[in-house]
């Protein structure tokens, strides 16, 4: 295992920047997730680390060594592909042994390592099967075993769970994470699934349009998003457009006067997480903001209920409440009051 550093990494095709000036330091044994919408440059970044794409600028350092110009077969990076990319003409054991044969290990060592690695991913006894004889989940574990067998300096996961069904995905997330901790693997994973990112990562990198928008822990990203994009991409939020009149005073486009924290005077949006607001039959005392509104839509999610409240012709807010016994559950068309403390909202100047 080793640490990984990306310094000013860029990739452009003509005028189009797929990745722009990405610098990241991934500690030995850390699980880093690159998160972003499709086309944000996360996969290009991962492929530059793997050596499949040559960067236009910047460097990749693996374990202190500059590997920027090394071809993929000279880097010790284990990669798990979205399609698994198992060798269809080889058995499971031959797939796992491939990287070891390239490293010129002896037959006895190879057989032993293959057996160990297959046991690690709970596929003992499957060595003689062909990939097409396995289920999707098993194929995914073979892909993981093949990457782990070479004892890579860094493990690269390219949307490894996107081809699994929802229930299996939840199990495999935890399995991969536990294996990664147990082996102390430096890992970089690419995903567009924020739930997956949040459950697996030590640290997350949110990317958009080729650039890093924020690096931080789950809590950092959710509680203190760096910009409007991150606030909207990580978790759910309602944006109210408007103007900051003075620090702490926000006036929405619909004319609502709201208390907030900070902000520079000028055009801005107020971001409010649905679970941070409250809804009641009467005005809510003790909160900085309490506004009357009408329920327009109720979405029943089981444990949680989303309530969409119209506050003004131009302002609509989503409030999420827990589904508790005896709790107040408003109905569509009902007049209600919505409230939240000033500190719950976040201002992003434009």
């Amino acid at each position: 295992m080793a640490d990984l550093a990306l310094n000013g990494l860029s990739k452009h095709y003509g005028d189009f920047y797929a990745v722009r000036d990405v610098s990241l330091a991934i500690a030995d044994g850390e699980f880093l997730v690159l998160l972003g919408p499709s086309g944000c440059g996360k996969t290009t970044t991962l492929r530059m680390v793997a050596g499949f794409i040559e960067p236009s600028a910047g460097e990749v350092r693996l374990g202190g060594q500059d590997v920027t110009l090394l071809p993929p077969w000279k880097r010790n990076a284990g990669m798990v592909f979205q399609s698994y990319a198992l060798f269809p003409h080889m058995t499971v054991a031959q797939n796992v042994a491939f990287g070891l044969e390239m490293r010129k290990l002896g037959r006895v060592d190879i057989d032993q390592r293959v057996e160990e690695t297959l046991a690690l991913v709970r596929l003992d006894g499957f060595g003689g099967r062909l990939p097409r004889q396995l289920s999707g989940g098993q194929q995914q574990r073979v892909a993981l075993a093949r990457a782990l067998a070479i004892r890579p300096d860094v493990l690269l996961l390219d949307e490894p769970l996107s081809n699994l069904d929802a229930k299996l995905r939840q199990e495999v997330r935890i399995e991969i994470r536990e294996l990664q901790r147990q082996l102390g693997l430096t890992t970089v994973m690419v995903t567009h699934d924020q739930e997956e990112a949040l459950t697996m990562a030590d640290r997350l990198v949110v990317m958009n349009e080729g650039a890093v928008r924020q690096v931080g822990t789950q809590r950092d990203l959710y509680e203190r998003p760096a910009d409007r994009f991150v606030a909207g991409f990580v978790g759910r939020t309602t944006f109210l457009g408007g103007t900051v009149k003075a620090p702490g005073r926000f006036r929405s486009d619909g004319g609502l006067a709201l208390a907030c924290t900070g902000g520079r005077p000028g055009r801005a949006v107020l971001s409010l997480r649905p679970e941070r607001a409250m809804v009641g039959r009467a005005a809510l005392s003790g909160l900085d903001n309490s506004l009357p509104g009408t329920v327009e839509f109720v979405s029943y999610l089981g444990a949680l209920i989303d309530i969409h409240v119209r506050l003004s012709p131009k302002d609509r807010l989503v409030v999420q409440i827990a589904n508790r016994d005896g709790g107040f559950t408003p109905e569509v068309g009902q007049p209600v009051h919505v409230g939240w403390p000033a500190s719950a909202g976040q201002i992003f100047n434009e």
Binding site: A85, M102, R103
Partner: protein
């Protein structure tokens, strides 16, 4: 029982209808092949066992292997067979060698002009053999562009004989067969996940090793299909050896035609045709067994 009998007969009727549909789909092609290929072959094989009286040019009913014995005992004919096999093997090898890289590039390209690339590969097939041969005479003939240039540069003293040689025939058949090889390989390579190649790279395989261990075995069905197609076409080439080989260069297909039309010796022509067919079949099967055994190792 009655309530079972009704749906059963309904099922049987449906089966019958499906059977009829299948027969209607397969039928015309089957009838065509039977009457236009199988029947003539059977008759031809029977003829090849007949006797031929050269003086009167008459076929006499018989049951003799004489025609086959004559072919294999006369060095003139065995040499023609050897030439044909040599040309076909060479053509197939060169087509595979030139075709694979080309097919790979076409299969993997992300270019918007991919369809133009494919059309330019098929383009040689738009030009008929006669037109192609005429065109080559202007380039490769003794007064052609190549010789004129070489003479002018002083590299040669006398014009090179390129037309009417085995080399000309080989180049000619390659030009015709290459598109078949490329298109066959391309469709198979396109079905191989690019990520599989990358997986091999990331596991430490340099390009040569990746090719040998991953790409080649996965492309093998295409390689087999492409070589069979190319080899059979080359073994049976008629127009190209006739037009580019000139009067003295002989291959099997023109020889068959010659026996039928010029010599009117149907029994001998028939036996040559069957020898050509059998040799082609045996060599194809043998080569593929070899290829597949090597891949299995």
């Amino acid at each position: 029982m009655a309530d079972i009998a009704i749906p059963y007969s309904a099922v049987a009727a449906k089966r019958r209808r499906e059977g009829l549909t299948a027969a209607a789909l397969v039928g015309p092609a089957t009838i065509f092949v039977t009457f236009c290929l199988l029947a003539p072959l059977v008759i031809l094989f029977r003829y090849s066992l007949n006797e031929f009286v050269p003086t009167t040019k008459v076929m006499v009913e018989a049951l003799t292997p004489a025609n086959y014995i004559r072919f294999f005992t006369d060095p003139y004919y065995t040499a023609i067979l050897a030439t044909t096999v040599r040309v076909a093997v060479l053509v197939t090898a060169v087509c595979l060698l030139l075709g694979f890289p080309l097919a790979y590039v076409v299969a993997r390209t992300q270019s918007r002009f991919k369809h133009l690339l494919i059309i330019s590969i098929i383009l040689p097939l738009f030009v008929g053999n006669a037109v192609r041969a005429a065109g080559w005479m202007t380039i490769f003939g003794t007064k052609g562009a190549v010789n004129a240039t070489l003479l002018w540069l002083g590299l040669i003293d006398a014009p090179l004989q390129i037309m009417f040689t085995e080399t000309a025939v080989i180049i000619g058949i390659i030009a015709v067969n290459l598109p078949f090889m490329v298109l066959t390989l391309q469709s198979v390579i396109e079905g191989i996940d690019r990520a599989v190649e990358e997986a091999a790279f990331s596991l430490g395989a340099p390009p040569g090793t990746m090719f040998r261990r991953v790409l080649w075995p996965l492309a093998l069905p295409g390689i087999v299909a492409g070589t069979i197609l190319t080899f059979i076409l080359a073994m049976n080439a008629y127009a190209t050896p006739f037009l580019l080989g000139g009067p003295r260069f002989k291959m099997m297909a023109p020889l068959v035609y010659d026996q039928f039309t010029k010599q009117a010796n149907w029994p001998f022509g028939g036996s040559i045709a069957f020898i050509l067919m059998t040799v082609t079949l045996l060599l194809t099967v043998a080569a593929n067994l070899l290829l597949q055994r090597r891949a299995a190792r």
